[in-house]
Symmetry: C2
Subunit: 548 residues, 2 copies
C-alpha cells in the first residue's frame, strides 16, 4: 500500500470545533429557548461557547474523568445545548436519556452506561428522586435551573444547581485536542428487541454527519436559516440539528417541552423560523391548530419529516395548504440518524404532481457518506428495480459498528465490506430511491416513539392465563400506530381484555400499554415456527381501537 | 487523554468513494465534454467510474507503483476527469500541470514532481515532444485521444493512445482501501517567489473540501444543479468542482479549451447550466459577447467568482443585467482552494443595495473547516474591526502543512496552533468578513493567472544595463492586471524599453512578459532596505499601458 502521505494540516474533526467556529464567525447569532421555567431565554453562540467551557470546568471540579458518561434527562433548551458541547467537547460522553421511557428502562439504561453525573430539567426531579437509589454509578445530580428555582429540600444527596456550578467557573479553559474517533455521545435504541442497545457516537462520525446534513440534498441549512428542531435532543441528538446549526451559523430555536400546535406555531412565527424537523405526530397537532384558527406560516419554508412514514394526506396539506417544501426522511439511532431523504432529482422536474408525490412518499435517496443495499435471506444482493423487497442494509461514515458493551458484531459481509442490517424490509429503485415495505421487526411506532412488540408480548405471556401473544401495530388516526394484543388463552383458562391490560400497569410506561386485546384460537406461524406477524397486521390493520 | 473510542464504522474518506457514490446513486447523470477533437462528448457517472477503473488497470500495466506521480497537461474534459479518479483512486498522485506556464517552468515542475507517466491533450503534443528529452522521470507518454487521432509519427518513445490503453482493460478491478491521509493530488503554485512550490493534497483533505464546498454557504451545489467549471482542472483542480459534482450527483459540463464568451454561452444554454465558477476575465468575455448579441441566460442562476477580485461594475452587471447571484470568493492553491465566500448573513437582509454590495465586494467569510486570523509584524493577533489590516493567516482541514520536498514549515504558531501565512494583507470585520487590502507579496494577477514579480525582476536585473528593477501590477481593463517594469539604469548605461522587453523572450511565457517599462532615477525602499512596492503601485496604478 502507498507510503506517500499528503502534506495537509492534520486536525481532528471535533465537536468543540463546531461551537468554536460558531462563536468566532457567528458569535452574535441567537440561540432562543423556551425554558422549563416558562420564559423565552435568549442567548448567542458566543455565550453558549463560553458557558460550555464553564460546563467542562465544572465537570472537572466534580471529579469526572475523560471518557466517562454524563447523563441528561432534558428538553430542547440552551442548557442542554451547553451540555452537548461542554461534555463532548471536553472529552467526556454525553448520554441523552429518553425521559419518556418507563422508569425501569431509564434505570437500566443509566446503569448500563454507568453514568457518573446526571443533569436533568426540573420536570424530571420526581422521577430522578425515585430512581436515585438504583443508580449506583451516579455520584452527582445536577438540576438544570437557577438557585431561585432549586427545591428547598430533596432526597438527593449531592444535588447541585446548574447555574451555581457554572457561576463558580471562570471560563478560562481551552478546548483540548484529542483523537477524532474518541467517543462523544451515547443514545440507546429501544429498537426491535426487548433490551435497549447503546450506540456510541464519535466526534468524527458526528461532525461528518453534520457536514452531510447541511448539504442541499439533505437539510440544506445555511447561515440565513432559522432552525427549530422539534425532535427532542434525547432522540438521536435531535437528529443532529444542534451540531448542524452552529456549523453554518444558523439561528437556533429550542422549543423546550411545549410541543403542542399552538406553542410551536407561536414560536415559529415570533422567531421567524425557516426550517424545522420532526415526526408526523407533531405536524398533526400543528395542522389541527392552524386549520382551526385559519393560520399560515410567514417565514417557514422547509420541513424534514421522519421517525415514521409521513401520511400522504399530511404531505399534501403541508405543501398545498401551507406552502411548505416537505422532505421525507429515513434514519435510525444506528445511523446518527440521517440515511435517506426524498429529494427529487433534476430528471424528475417534468413529472406530474401525482408521480412526484409518489416519489416523495418513498423514504428517499442517500447522501454521500451513506450507502444502501438490499439482500435476500441468504444475503445475496437484490436488484434495484423498485419492486423487489429485501432486507435493508446500510453502511457509512456515521453508521454504528457495534453496540456498547457488545462484543458481537451485527454486521453482514458483502464482498469484503461490512454492512449493518437495519431489520427493515425495503425496495430500491434504479435511481436509488428506497422505500420501506415492512417495518423493522414489527416495532410499533406511536407518535414517533417506538414500542417494542417483544416487550409487550413478554409481559402478556407472563400472565398465567395466556398461551401465546402477539403485539402488532394497529392504525391510529392521531398516533399513527398503537399496539394491539392478539392472544391465545391457555386451555380452560379465562382472562378478560381489561384484566390483561391491567397486568401491564407499572411494567411499561402507560402510553406503551396496548390499546386493545383480541382473543383468537390460534396465531399464524411461518414454516420455521416463528410468529407470522405480517398476516396478523393485514388481518387487524383496521381493527377499531377503543376510543377511536 | 480519553481512552474510550466511539463504536461507529471506520472507513476512509477517499476520492474513489466520490465516484463510486455517483455511479451507484446517480449513474445516469451526464458528464458532457467539449473535446479537443471539437465534438461534444456525452458520458455518465457510471461510465466515468467504469473507465476510471480501466485507467487504474492501465497504470498498473504500465508499471506505475502506488504513490507515484502521474502528470496531466489537459483541458477540462471527461478523460481528464477519468484520470482524476483513476490515478488518485488507485493510490497514485494526480499531478495537474499548468500548460500555460513557460516550457522551462513546466519541465522544472515535472522533474521536481518526478512524474512517471504524462497524460496530455493533443493540443500539447508539440510542447511535450520538445520537453521530452529533459524529462528523465517520465517513462510513458499518453496522448488523450482515440487511435484515429494519433499522429502517424512522433519523436516520443513509448507514446500510447489513451483509448487504446483503456480498451485493453476489462474494468474488472475493485477500488482499493487505504489510509485517508494518503497523497492524492499535486498542484504547484507559482506563488510569490520565483520557485514553484508543490502542494500535496490528501484524500481526506480533498473529500472534506468537497463536503464544505457543496454546503449552502459555499457553492450550494445540489443534485438538481448542472455545473460548469470554467476554471481549468490544472488550477487547483478546477477549484474542486470535479469532486463536488459527483458527490451530490450534479450533471457536469466540461468546456474543454473553448473559454471564449460565445462558446461558453452556447454551452451553458444548450446544457442548461445552473451554476458556474471562474475568474473575472472569463466573465469579461462572456459579458461582452452577451451584450453585443443581446443575450440572456435561461437557466444559469449562481456563479462563484474568485482567483482575482471581482470588479464592482462586473458584479452589478451580472446581478442587474443578467439576474445572477454572484458569490465573491477567495482562496489559494494552498487552501484547496476554498477559504472564504462573500455570502450575506441573515442580519444583512435589511441592508440597502449599496451596503449589501460593499459586503459582497469583500472576500467573504470562512466556511466550517477553515479559520482565519490577522496578525501584526510580531505575530500578535489584530482586532476584527473591519479596518485594521494585518498579515492574513489561515488554518484548516484542507490547508497545506508544508510544501512538497521542503522540510521547513512556513507556519506561524498562535497559542499552540499552527497557522499558514498567506502572504496577503487583510482586514476582518466583526462578522468575520475578510477583505484583502494588499496583494500577496506583489504577485501580478493577469486573467486569473499569477505572474511572479520576482521572476520578472530577476530577469530584468540580469540585463547588463539594469541597476535595479521592480515588477508591479498595473491595472488593465481586460486582464485585470498586467506587469509593469520600473527600472533604474546603471550609471552611464543605456537600454530602451523595447530592448529590455525583448530580453524576456524565451525566458518566460510570452503573456508573462511585462507590458511596459518606466525608467526612474531611484526606487523607494522600506527602512529595512526592501523594495517598497506599495508606494510604486500607488504611483503607477493608472499608468497607461501600450495598447490600452
Amino acid at each position: 500500500m502507498p507510503t506517500v502521505s499528503g502534506q495537509m494540516m492534520q486536525m481532528p474533526l471535533s465537536i468543540s470545533s463546531l461551537i468554536r467556529h460558531a462563536a468566532r464567525h457567528a458569535g452574535d447569532v441567537e440561540v432562543v429557548s423556551r425554558r422549563v421555567e416558562g420564559d423565552l431565554h435568549r442567548s448567542t453562540y458566543a455565550e453558549v461557547e463560553r458557558r460550555s467551557r464553564q460546563v467542562a470546568q465544572a465537570l472537572a471540579r466534580l471529579g469526572c474523568e475523560l471518557g466517562e458518561r454524563i447523563g441528561t434527562l432534558a428538553w430542547n433548551g440552551h442548557r442542554h445545548l451547553e451540555l452537548f458541547y461542554g461534555i463532548s467537547g471536553s472529552g467526556r460522553v454525553c448520554h441523552t436519556v429518553n425521559p419518556r421511557l418507563h422508569a425501569d428502562q431509564i434505570a437500566w439504561i443509566i446503569n448500563h452506561a454507568q453514568d457518573r453525573v446526571l443533569f436533568f430539567d426540573s420536570t424530571f426531579l420526581p422521577l430522578v428522586e425515585k430512581l436515585a437509589p438504583q443508580l449506583a454509578s451516579v455520584a452527582h445530580w445536577v438540576l438544570m435551573t437557577a438557585r431561585a428555582q432549586m427545591p428547598a429540600d430533596s432526597a438527593l444527596k449531592n444535588l447541585h444547581c446548574y447555574e451555581d456550578l457554572l457561576a463558580a467557573e471562570d471560563g478560562q479553559w481551552a478546548w483540548p485536542e484529542f483523537d477524532e474517533n474518541t467517543a462523544s455521545g451515547l443514545c440507546y435504541t429501544s429498537g426491535t428487541t426487548g433490551m435497549p442497545k447503546g450506540v456510541l457516537y464519535s466526534h468524527r462520525s458526528t461532525v461528518l454527519h453534520a457536514l452531510g446534513q447541511v448539504s442541499v440534498d439533505a437539510m440544506g441549512i445555511g447561515s440565513r436559516d432559522v432552525v427549530l428542531p422539534v425532535t427532542p435532543m434525547f432522540h438521536v441528538n435531535a437528529w443532529g440539528v444542534p451540531f448542524a446549526a452552529p456549523m453554518v451559523g444558523a439561528k437556533l430555536v429550542l422549543p423546550g417541552s411545549r410541543l403542542d400546535g399552538a406553542s410551536l406555531h407561536e414560536l415559529m412565527e415570533s422567531e421567524r423560523v425557516t426550517f424545522t424537523a420532526g415526526v408526523p405526530t407533531v405536524w398533526l397537532g400543528l395542522i389541527t391548530h392552524m386549520k382551526a384558527h385559519r393560520l399560515q406560516f410567514s417565514t417557514l419554508r422547509r420541513t424534514v419529516i421522519g421517525g415514521a412514514a409521513c401520511p400522504p394526506a399530511m404531505m399534501r396539506t403541508l405543501e398545498d395548504d401551507f406552502g411548505l417544501e416537505v422532505i421525507h426522511a429515513w434514519g435510525m439511532t444506528e445511523t446518527s440518524p440521517l440515511g435517506t431523504l426524498a429529494h427529487l432529482k433534476a430528471k424528475h422536474a417534468a413529472l406530474d404532481a401525482e408521480s412526484r408525490r409518489a416519489l416523495q412518499q418513498k423514504q428517499g435517496k442517500v447522501i454521500y457518506g451513506v450507502d444502501l443495499a438490499i439482500v435476500d435471506a441468504d444475503d445475496r444482493p437484490l436488484p434495484w428495480d423498485g419492486c423487489t423487497p429485501g432486507q435493508l442494509l446500510v453502511r457509512g461514515q456515521w453508521v454504528v459498528d457495534h453496540y456498547l458493551g457488545s462484543s458481537e458484531s451485527p454486521h453482514i459481509d458483502l464482498a469484503g465490506e461490512r454492512w449493518f442490517p437495519t431489520g427493515d424490509v425495503a425496495t430500491i429503485d434504479a435511481d436509488g430511491y428506497m422505500q420501506i415495505t415492512d417495518r423493522s421487526k414489527d416495532v410499533i411506532k406511536s407518535g414517533g416513539e417506538w414500542i417494542s412488540s417483544i416487550v409487550l408480548e413478554n409481559i402478556a405471556m407472563a400472565h398465567p392465563a395466556v398461551h401465546e401473544a402477539a403485539a402488532i401495530a394497529c392504525h391510529h388516526p392521531k398516533w399513527d400506530e398503537r399496539p394491539l394484543l392478539v392472544v391465545v388463552r391457555k386451555p380452560g383458562a379465562d382472562v378478560s381484555a381489561a384484566d390483561l391490560l391491567r397486568f401491564f400497569d407499572g411494567k411499561v410506561a402507560s402510553w406503551q400499554v396496548p390499546d386493545d386485546v383480541v382473543f383468537v384460537d390460534e396465531l399464524p406461524h411461518t414454516a420455521t415456527g416463528k410468529l407470522f406477524k405480517m398476516a396478523l397486521r393485514q388481518a387487524y390493520r383496521d381493527h377499531r381501537l377503543p376510543g377511536v
